[in-house]
């Protein structure tokens, strides 16, 4: 496995140090979720039971419309399940609302999107700093610079997303996802918009983050080779967990 840039550090945790913290365990019990489309109800997830251990590395696969992204958005606190129980670490997500849900997303979750989700108005460093500013981090400038250095983009910190390659943008997105030190990283097709080489680098980086920081890593993918790299994989079909 080829690492990109120098080793990742969180506090005194270095690549040779043992992981000092476990990521959050994720537990879903009979979780169902549906959307309204006119008068009809479209079931996106049907009574999902799922356990992901703390610091686990899980791949979630399935065809388009199987419910992968919905499951990811429920775990990420972008919406709340309509039935069942969903716990991430000590958080019971169906009980979180408004600011509490935002605080959960800010402190617990790091999102990595297929299309990067960077703010075009801001350069790479500012994108990372913005996420840090949401948690009122006092040394956000230094923190952002260090993370960009760690993902190998020190020299590209002043560039806007439009001036970066796809792989570079995804690494900025990973640096942003890490800036608030999350215990869970949710990656939705993180290599889906990249060529094979860039995709492999990004995946390497995510795995290194997972290994060194001990955070739980959940990757949604269509790509078999990506899914195979996870320690555990689940498959969704029409909103049901089939494997």
């Amino acid at each position: 496995m080829r690492l990109i840039g120098p080793g990742l550090a969180r506090g005194d945790v270095g690549p040779t140090n043992p992981v000092t913290r476990l990521g959050s365990a994720i537990r879903l019990q009979r979780v169902s979720h549906w959307y309204r489309s006119g008068r009809s109800r479209v079931e996106a997830l049907h009574e999902i039971d799922l356990d992901i251990p703390a610091s686990g590395y899980v791949a979630l696969t399935g065809a388009s419309g199987a419910g992968k992204s919905t499951l990811l958005s429920l775990i990420g606190g972008l919406e709340r399940p309509q039935s069942g129980e969903l716990r991430v670490g000590e958080h019971r997500l169906q009980q979180l609302h408004g600011d509490a849900l935002a605080a959960y997303r800010r402190a617990t979750i790091g999102f990595v999107f297929q299309h990067f989700g960077l703010i075009d108005l801001l350069n790479a460093r500012e994108n990372v700093e913005l996420a840090a500013s949401l948690s009122r981090s006092s040394q956000r400038g230094q923190h952002a610079a260090r993370l960009l250095d760690e993902v190998g983009l020190r020299d590209r910190a002043g560039h806007r997303p439009g001036e970066l390659s796809g792989g570079e943008r995804q690494r900025v997105a990973i640096a942003r996802a890490l800036v608030n030190d999350p215990s869970v990283i949710l990656a939705d097709e993180p290599t889906g918009n990249l060529d094979a080489t860039s995709g492999a680098r990004v995946l390497d980086l995510l795995e290194r983050v997972h290994a060194e920081r001990g955070c739980t890593l959940l990757v949604v993918t269509h790509n078999e080779s990506v899914a195979k790299r996870a320690t555990r994989r689940y498959q969704l079909d029409a909103g049901r967990l089939i494997a």
Binding site: S73, G76, L78, F111, F113, I119, D120, L121, L130, A177
Partner: protein
């Protein structure tokens, strides 16, 4: 997210669409320009009209005569005199104690012989008391701004000066002299005193030479010369020191020939007049006329404010429309921000600061433009007035409260216009906003 971060994001968002930002700012600026220009012109014109009705003085001025008021005095703006009634220092003090009265400026007139300018001209050949047939009007010129005096040329004499005078327009008309020809010349004045000679009472003058520093139109008191009150006090003392003690000349019994009473406000004008009338003094003030004109001016103000408000409302809709477009355009960014932990109020603050920036900048530009337009209108109006031989109007006074109110008002209006789009942005479901990311 800190306020600084939100402001930075708002500022960059505006710069991303410079054309749209510029047009929105221009819309706000145009609305503000219209409101400020109309407000400024209407305010100046209103003040000028009230001032004109008050003969150049403040609209709150009441002219009090040393005369007894007749029974109908309370029902008319005009002076209704019915015999003399002295105005003493005690009267002045009594008037000053009234809460509806802001200040009282006594007027002292004295008879005088005026040798017309330039210096060296011949005095009239009339002899006896009739030689002193002109009147010198003295007032405290430190309060000139509160008096119905309009400077037509030059300036007023310095307060307390015994060597400077201003001639009145009426004197120049009677003497057949031009305004431009008398400024800077010297005039000779003789204040009369009776003395006893072998052939009986005779009159002599206390002569003085004074520089003509200005020409005025004034309603303080009828007379040829306007001087500081110190000059007329000396003249009266000189006359009283004569052998007759003022009986031959004869001197008026009242120390003061009149007074200008200023009410505390236009609303207090009626009550202040009642105080003066209650003391029995004949007086005049354009009370009913000013009141009536003010009502019309109020209607004009409402109409102009309505026009300005419509313009600002259109600008506010422009702000709202631009922000709604921005919300649609930035759905993905809003979703990303929420996904990484931004609260609803962080998103709202982003959009509201953007609205505030548009309102503030537009308000500032519009206020400046409005004042410049008011100034340009003033120049054009003054050109016309000058051609008509009328006194010019003072335009272009920078009213800081108006400027602050305009900028603050447009900023608040823009923020208010931004509330709905900002709420729409804040309530955007992050799941829907990041769909496809």
């Amino acid at each position: 997210m800190t306020w600084t971060d939100s402001l930075g994001l708002a500022s960059r968002s505006l710069r991303r669409r410079p054309g749209r930002a510029l047009l929105t700012i221009l819309a706000v600026a145009l609305g503000t320009t219209l409101l400020v220009a109309l407000g400024s012109v209407a305010s100046t014109a209103g003040s000028r009209i009230v001032s004109k009705l008050s003969n150049g003085g403040p609209g709150t001025a009441i002219k009090v005569a040393a005369s007894q008021a007749d029974a109908d005095q309370a029902y008319t703006d005009d002076l209704r005199a019915a015999g003399s009634k002295p105005i003493s220092d005690g009267t002045i003090a009594t008037l000053r104690r009234s809460p509806q009265i802001a200040t009282v400026i006594p007027v002292m007139a004295s008879q005088v012989l005026v040798v017309p300018p330039p210096f060296g001209s011949e005095a009239a050949s009339t002899r006896g008391p009739l030689a002193f047939g002109s009147t010198m009007v003295g007032v405290d010129l430190r309060q000139a701004n509160n008096l119905p005096i309009t400077v037509l040329a030059g300036r007023l004499p310095r307060p307390g000066s015994l060597t400077e005078v201003a001639l009145t327009e009426s004197y120049l008309d009677h003497a057949g002299q031009s305004v431009a020809g008398v400024i800077g010349t010297e005039v000779e004045l003789a204040e009369p005193q009776a003395y006893q000679s072998q052939t009986g009472p005779q009159f002599r003058g206390r002569w003085l030479r004074a520089q003509v520093v200005g020409v005025v139109s004034q309603q303080v008191g009828s007379g040829a010369v306007l001087v500081p009150i110190e000059q007329t006090r000396l003249a009266r003392l000189w006359s009283l020191a004569g052998v007759d003690g003022g009986d031959v000349l004869p001197l008026p019994a009242s120390p003061y020939s009149g007074a200008i009473v200023l009410a505390s406000s236009l609303n207090d004008l009626h009550a202040a007049r009642q105080v003066v009338t209650g003391l029995g003094y004949a007086n005049s003030a354009p009370e009913h006329l000013v009141s009536s004109v003010l009502r019309y001016l109020r209607v004009v103000d409402i109409v102009l404010a309505g026009i300005g408000t419509i313009a600002l409302s259109i600008a506010a809709m422009g702000v709202a429309n631009a922000l709604l477009a921005a919300v649609r355009e930035r759905r993905r960014e809003i979703g990303v921000l929420k996904a990484i932990g931004a609260r609803d109020r962080d998103i709202m603050r982003w959009f509201l600061l953007e609205a505030l920036a548009v309102g503030g900048v537009g308000g500032l530009l519009g206020t400046i433009a409005g004042l410049l337009i008011a100034l340009a209108v003033g120049v054009s109006v003054n050109d016309y007035l000058s051609q008509q031989g009328l006194q010019s109007i003072q335009f272009g006074d920078v009213s800081w409260p108006l400027i602050m109110a305009a900028i603050a008002g447009t900023s608040v209006l823009a923020v208010a216009a931004g509330i709905v789009p900002a709420m729409q942005a804040a309530r955007l479901s992050p799941r829907e906003a990041v769909a496809g990311l």
